[in-house]
């Protein structure tokens, strides 16, 4: 949403003008004539929304937060959501349906404040058909329940879209069932473990403080038995996960970290039960349950997920659900999945081309920003082939489908097998470690066994079990889980959202970086506008500003915004005629003005040459004044980052989907020796990465747009850049906010530091184990010592890694 109006903010250069901000969206108002009840609005859309809320007595919306509104898109074509009338489509979206009630969950990425929640939960005031609407802010989701007798899904969606909260409806979300927000079993496990641990701890105090001799025998035994009872659910329920994973590991002849832990837990509980039942001791249940509790906490902490993000979107996430087909003159809406080769489809303004098709009627002006990140629209003429994924800007067009959606240029990428096999699953390098660890552990136990069997056989059992108990590598596991958990948070703070912790380990190994040009190095939402030609007079400038403001075309908007006139001369536009995809004719105070593409202007002025980049020419009073050429703007500071990355011994590559018009610029940015490749098809990008990997390189790919999806998937770490988290991004291991691209080198070096932190904490925890063992091997490990050692080690390690990782992050400027 926001990306739409950053235009203006970018181009307010004149310090003299104090910007008036829109009462609804807080956006700067160019046109001060739009207002209602003495409140300024930046556009009719915002004003409309305000009036609607006001009339429904929902103005609390504006009290909760200042200018909470979202830049209204204004009036969208009335049949934009026509496909929602199709029963089949509706069925896909809703979660429940009855005579009088329909439940549906909408994902609304753009909700951002209390006011949003307020408005979205009061829909029923505006649309009585809505019975209940409940927001989940974390998931950026609203649950709507409406009465099908009184309203329709389409009406609801249109209302949402009108107020600026256009739900994000996609084929994918409709076909895949929704997963619960969080893992409740984990919560049960932690809850029970925590409860039992706390109470066992409590009931063990008498043991500690009276050093075993409580005044009252009966009291002591009671405590022990209660402990035993309390520990059972922990063993059977809370700890089950550990046992299962350990068992799985063993079955695959793989000794993972859970194996020794499981062993330790079993020994701890077994010995404790033996002592309690035989009545000669209190056992180590406090330590045992503590181990389980802390470990569960650790896991929970590490498995932080970013609810509102989706890391496994494919093309279906971008494509419209429904499409209008023309069947001998009659239009009807069908789900896009039923689209056949040869169908005739109608695509309206701002709608997406669902499949590769040939343009039959009208002129297309396709915005491929979803696909390539390229933000200036491309003009297409009748008979030309248009690839799926583009967005039509302008009037209605009609086209004939030549490939089914799933087979089209972009989407066939997903038939590649890399999309089926999973990567970066939890497979931490701590697991190999555990093999040695267990080896050492068992040999120590054996040693103890042998020693005591010669000296004092009665001490064998206590000593050996004690060894196995204290040597539990839970702190080993904790050190890794908490380090990575904390790092995930730090990355998140810097707007790099990782899929899971193992991505950090992958990132630490990176030695090769591949950039996609557009979107990552360039800023999608801004363009730098250059006027080429004889300087314009004040009058001309204000004329151009006036006329361009008439048009809704993105280019016109950019130009309008780029011109600042000292004095706002009120001009009357007597006629305005827009030719979509070409340009427009206008008459301002009897002066005919024509602006548009070279091709459009050519008529009459043969001297104009075709342009390389995107350009808009001006003809005023039949005289060609010059042209505005619009170029990508590169993020400031790219060069410096490139330099830093190279210094740290990374190899860089640039892949670009479009032509080489920018080659020189890129060369200066990346310096010589950085291979640049242009006109890369999605498949080529993917193969290129494969090639690098075959040379044994660890590749990190930075890209946005669908055409990078394959490459992102293929590379060890694929980072999707998006201008704002609300925007959709292709499947990836991480999502990075565009504004933070320049931190990339810092991210990588932080990831590398992470591994060292873990190693350091490993050593710390080993030390603890040695202390514990020194007691254990002598068979003098009292429950007290165990109970102190266990939490002490765990907690201190958690603190250690948290502090260190935060400190390192600060040092690296994250």
């Amino acid at each position: 949403m926001r990306r739409l109006f950053i235009f203006k903010n970018q181009f307010i250069k004149d310090p003299k003008s104090i910007p008036v901000s829109c009462f609804h969206c807080g956006d700067v108002c160019d046109d001060l004539t739009i207002s209602a009840e003495s409140k300024p609005f930046c556009c009719q859309g915002c004003k409309q929304v305000y009036l609607l809320l006001n009339e429904n007595n929902l103005c609390n919306y504006y009290d909760l937060d200042k200018t909470p509104g979202l830049k209204a898109k204004g009036k969208f074509l009335s049949d934009r959501f026509a496909y929602l009338d199709d029963a089949a489509t509706v069925q896909k979206l809703i979660s429940f349906q009855s005579e009088s009630q329909v439940n549906v969950h909408f994902s609304i990425p753009q909700m951002h404040c209390s006011s949003c929640i307020y408005l979205l939960e009061n829909l029923h005031r505006i649309e009585p058909g809505v019975k209940k609407s409940q927001v989940n802010f974390q998931l950026k989701e609203v649950f709507v329940m409406y009465n099908p007798q009184e309203t329709t899904l389409r009406k609801v969606v249109e209302l949402l879209a009108f107020t600026g909260y256009e739900p994000y409806i996609s084929l994918q979300d409709s076909t895949e069932k929704r997963v619960p927000a969080f893992n409740r079993t984990a919560v049960y496990r932690i809850g029970i473990a925590g409860f039992c641990f706390a109470n066992i701890m409590m009931l063990s105090f008498p043991e500690y403080f009276s050093s075993g001799n409580i005044d009252e025998r009966i009291l002591k035994t009671t405590f022990n038995w209660i402990n035993l009872a309390l520990s059972i659910p922990v063993l059977l329920f809370s700890a089950s996960g550990i046992f299962i994973s350990a068992w799985k590991g063993l079955r695959q002849k793989f000794l993972n970290i859970d194996a020794p832990i499981a062993l330790a837990i079993m020994v701890t509980f077994a010995r404790s039960y033996y002592e309690i039942i035989s009545g000669n001791g209190a056992g180590y249940l406090d330590s045992g349950t503590g181990i389980v509790f802390f470990m569960l906490i650790g896991r929970w902490f590490q498995n932080k997920t970013y609810d509102s993000f989706s890391f496994d979107r494919d093309y279906r996430a971008y494509f419209p659900l429904g499409v209008t087909v023309v069947d001998d003159g009659t239009e009807k809406n069908i789900p896009v999945t039923q689209l056949q080769k040869g169908n005739r489809i109608v695509v309206r303004n701002e709608e997406m081309i669902p499949a590769d098709a040939v343009l039959m009627k009208g002129t297309a002006n396709i915005d491929y920003s979803f696909v390539s990140g390229e933000n200036t629209a491309v003009e297409k003429r009748r008979g030309e082939l248009i690839y799926a994924g583009g967005k039509q800007m302008g009037s209605i067009i009609e086209m004939e489908v030549i490939k089914e959606p799933s087979q089209s240029y972009i989407t066939q990428l997903w038939n590649n097998d890399i999309f089926t096999h999973k990567k970066n699953q939890e497979q931490s390098f701590i697991h190999p470690w555990s093999r040695y660890f267990t080896g050492v552990l068992l040999s120590v136990a054996a040693g103890t066994f042998i020693f005591w069997s010669f000296t004092d056989a009665s001490r064998i059992l206590p000593a050996v079990t004690a060894v196995l108990i204290v040597a539990c590598p839970c702190s080993l596991l904790l050190s890794a889980t908490f380090t990575y958990g904390n790092m995930l948070r730090i990355f998140g703070r810097n707007k790099l959202y990782l899929k899971n912790a193992s991505v950090i380990e992958a990132m630490a190994k990176i030695n090769t970086l591949v950039f996609d040009k557009t979107g990552t190095l360039t800023q999608t939402n801004t363009a730098d506008v250059q006027y080429e030609g004889p300087p314009l007079s004040e009058k001309e400038r204000s004329i151009i500003k006036t006329v361009t403001r008439q048009s809704s075309h993105p280019l016109s908007k950019i130009i309008a915004a780029s011109i600042d006139t000292e004095t706002e001369i009120p001009l009357t536009v007597s006629s305005f005629q827009e030719y979509s995809g070409k340009g427009f004719d206008a008459v301002v105070q009897d002066i005919p003005v024509r602006m548009g593409s070279a091709g459009f202007i050519k008529a009459g002025n043969t001297f104009i040459t075709q342009d390389t980049g995107t350009a808009v020419h001006i003809v005023m009073d039949k005289v060609h004044l010059g042209k505005f050429s619009i170029k990508n703007q590169y993020r400031p500071g790219v060069a410096q980052m490139v330099h830093r990355l190279k210094k740290t011994g990374n190899q860089l590559f640039v892949l670009s989907g479009d032509n080489d018009s920018e080659q020189n610029k890129l060369n200066t940015l990346f310096g010589a020796g950085t291979p640049l490749r242009f006109n890369q098809s999605p498949q080529q990008k993917l193969d290129f990465i494969k090639g690098l990997q075959q040379e044994g390189k660890n590749v990190l790919m930075l890209g946005d747009g669908l055409n990078d999806a394959g490459a992102l998937m293929q590379s060890q770490v694929g980072i999707a850049v998006s201008e704002n988290s609300a925007q959709f991004s292709p499947a990836s291991d991480a999502i990075l906010d565009g504004s933070r691209v320049l931190l990339l080198d810092k991210f990588i070096s932080f990831a590398r530091a992470g591994k060292n932190i873990v190693l350091a904490s490993f050593i710390l925890s080993i030390l603890y184990n040695i202390v514990g063992l020194s007691f254990a091997v002598q068979g003098i490990l009292s429950p007290m010592i165990a109970a102190i050692l266990m939490p002490a080690s765990s907690i201190s390690i958690v603190l250690f890694v948290s502090v260190i990782s935060s400190f390192v992050a600060r040092k690296k400027g994250l």
Partner: protein, 711 residues
């Protein structure tokens, strides 16, 4: 399934609001009065106005009347809105309101009459205990009823705090009230001595926890965001805050009994859990304060937020101080002194008081659809209250520490430097300053009274406030897998009832063996049951609330054994129902009053009771001349003996028949002693019984030095 219109019940909120203001004023007035009594003992007017009887009145009025009504005000306002539903039943609401006020009135009558169980914060006699139980159930019924028919699926964290309050207070009250009536008004505690003490402080501490803290945390989590119009800093943290608090609080009790005859490990248990408590408590405080982050400018000109900020800060201070005080070394100094008094008043005046005021100023104008009559007056109230707290707390802290040091100070010769009386007279100026603080605070309350009165006049009560919401609906998400308590979990009420029943049944099962197995506190052969006269005397001791100023528990410190004699043993108290260890030493410890160098003649005691200052110059103890005229209630002797016997005190069968004869013979002996000291008084007077009890204190041990003591 349609959006429903319904009405919030504001009248009940208004009633509780008025009640809390009224009783607040009364309770604080009583507090001020007894504070002044410590400066001017002559203010102990008649037996009904003596310190020992009014102090329980003060504590009960402030805790159960002021804070109690404050809780209900807040709960009835917020619960309705959080549940998007009117209270379950107006009838129940009214029964709850009037019932509660009746209980308060009953308390206000019985306590000055000397009808007391002699256990702190649980003084009220058994009929009132029953009434409390009934009304509490009504409250719970009404609350859970509302929760069931709520329209908002999510239970806001405040509601959890309310639920916790209800459940735990119910349990605590029932356990503490375990008693055997011997008349239609009075009873003896089920438990005795050390056990009674343990039960008492398990109750006493948790009463603080679950009556003064959890409900007010609930109120904080509702009214603070409301007043600031911004969400709580971290809702996640508030959830963690609740659950961790719940699991820890219940066990902090024993820290009230450090260095007592309670087993060592039980004391340490209390310490550890008390210390742990600081984490959830501060979590809550930080969460509260950070809610206002970035809105501090608002705090500057919004008096309501000011009140709340001070309240939360006070909570933070008290919950930091609490764990510190429960550290053995600190406790050794602070216990029995006025430091504790300062500590609890920071909590009561700061946390409970200030939050209540803040809520009142926020809520009254809302339910009366008007604006506060005067922000200026409110601001004045705020400053008076804040100053009041400072003027109260600072002298008390200072005094408490000084007092403790003086108690413990020795001369080079190894003698105690100060007599107890010297320490008392030293305190007087501080007591005076404390009263000043109290006065300021009270004036503030009167200003609020006026301000709210004017506000109410300008507005009109919206008795039934219109609201609308869609009923709670099944979202039709099918559950995966069955769960063991699937059946009951469908409805929270069923669930809570079941768990409550489970708790109680479990409790009974636990209790039965308790009374079957003979208590195995190491018995001391020489410890014998009280004689009828001593028993009567002890009941007078309880009636007059002597325990609020005199402890009966000598801790194992040289400073105490020097002053009071051998430290107390668990075995000495096996026949004490209720225990009278006390928690404060405004006067000296009496555990060994009848023995050693503390022993005084009957005549001394007689004169002392008649006019304390005549025997000890500058004493601030009230005079008890009325005990010389009032006759011992011998009619009750038999039933008391029976009650005691059925509670395990070994009076042989049929003893009750000739108990009164023995009583008279012993009384006569005392009368003769007095006569020999030139005092003429009939043998059947209360003072005789009390003297007998005084002379008995500590005897058991001195009778037999070879007794086996437990460590």
């Amino acid at each position: 399934m349609q959006v429903e219109k319904f009405y919030y019940d504001n009248r009940i909120v208004k009633n509780f609001a008025y009640a809390t203001i009224l009783w607040g004023a009364v309770g604080m007035l009583a507090g001020l009065w007894i504070a002044l009594q410590l400066v001017f003992p002559q203010m102990n007017i008649t037996q009904y106005g003596s310190f020992g009887r009014l102090r329980p009145l003060h504590t009960n009025a402030v805790i159960f009347a002021f804070v109690g009504n404050g809780i209900f005000m807040g709960v009835y306002y917020s619960l309705q809105r959080l549940c998007k539903a009117r209270m379950f039943s107006d009838k129940l609401s009214n029964i709850h309101f009037w019932g509660w006020q009746l209980i308060i009135v009953a308390a206000a009558i019985t306590l000055p009459l000397g009808l007391s169980q002699g256990t702190e914060y649980a003084e009220l006699i058994w009929p009132i205990d029953l009434a409390i139980t009934v009304i509490w159930v009504v409250f719970g019924w009404n609350m859970f009823g509302t929760i069931i028919k709520r329209r908002e699926k999510h239970l806001y964290v405040a509601i959890w705090f309310y639920i916790a309050t209800f459940v735990t207070v119910a349990v605590l009250h029932i356990i503490r009230s375990g008693q055997l009536p011997y008349s239609w008004l009075q009873s003896y505690s089920w438990y005795s001595g050390v056990q009674d003490a343990l039960v008492q402080w398990w109750y006493g501490h948790n009463a603080v926890a679950f009556f003064l803290t959890t409900p007010y945390l609930g109120l904080m989590y509702y009214f603070m965001p409301k007043a600031a119009n911004r969400p709580v800093y971290s809702y996640k943290l508030s959830i963690i805050h609740f659950w961790s608090l719940i699991f820890l609080y219940i066990w902090a009790g024993p820290h009230h009994l450090l260095y007592t005859a309670l087993p060592n490990w039980a004391q340490s248990l209390g310490v550890v859990f008390s210390v742990m408590l600081i984490f959830p408590s501060w979590g809550g405080m930080i969460n509260g304060l950070l809610t206002l982050r970035g809105a501090w400018d608002r705090v500057r000109d919004d008096v309501i937020l000011k009140f709340m900020v001070v309240a939360v800060t006070a909570y933070g201070m008290a919950t930091f101080e609490g764990p510190m005080l429960s550290l053995k070394s600190v406790n050794a100094v602070a216990h029995y002194t006025d430091w504790i008094v300062a500590h609890v008043h920071v909590g009561a005046l700061g946390w409970n008081g200030m939050l209540t005021f803040g809520v009142l100023y926020w809520l009254i104008p809302r339910i009366f659809k008007t604006n506060l009559y005067s922000k200026k007056l409110a601001a004045n109230h705020f400053w008076l209250a804040t100053l009041g707290i400072l003027f109260y707390a600072i002298p008390m802290y200072w005094a408490g520490i000084q007092q403790s040091l003086m108690w413990k100070q020795f001369t080079e010769a190894g003698q105690l430097k100060y007599t107890f009386l010297e320490t008392v007279t030293y305190m007087k100026p501080f007591y005076a300053m404390r009263s000043l603080g109290g006065t300021l605070y009270l004036i503030g309350v009167f200003i609020m009274f006026y301000n709210i009165y004017k506000t109410v006049k300008t507005g009109k009560l919206v008795a039934n406030e219109e609201a609308e919401a869609a009923p709670m609906v099944k979202e039709y998400v099918k559950h995966t897998g069955e769960h063991w308590h699937r059946v009951i979990e469908r409805k929270p009420i069923q669930f809570m009832i079941v768990s409550l029943v489970v708790i109680l049944v479990g409790g009974i099962i636990e209790l039965v063996p308790t009374f079957m197995i003979k208590s195995n506190v190491p018995t001391i052969s020489s410890v014998t049951p009280y004689t009828p006269l001593e028993l009567q005397g002890r009941d007078i001791y309880v009636r007059e609330g002597c325990y609020v100023c005199h402890s009966q528990m000598i801790r194992p410190f040289r400073s105490e054994t020097e002053r009071y004699g051998e430290y107390s043993k668990a075995g000495e108290f096996v026949y004490d129902k209720p225990f009278q260890w006390g928690s404060k030493r405004t006067g000296p410890d009496l555990a060994r009053e009848g023995t050693g160098n503390l022993k005084k003649s009957d005549g001394w005691h007689f004169r002392h009771f008649r006019e304390p200052s005549s025997m000890s110059e500058g004493s601030i103890m009230p005079a008890y001349p009325f005990m010389i005229d009032q006759a011992i209630d011998t009619a009750s002797t038999a039933s008391k003996i029976n009650a005691m016997r059925s509670l395990g005190v070994p009076y042989e069968k049929g003893y009750e028949q000739f108990a009164n004869q023995e009583l008279m013979t012993q009384a006569n002996a005392v009368r003769i002693n007095l006569k020999m000291e030139g005092i003429e008084v009939p043998a059947n007077r209360e003072v005789i019984a009390l003297i007998a009890y005084m002379q008995r204190l500590g005897k058991d041990i001195s009778n037999n030095k070879t007794a086996t003591f437990n460590k």
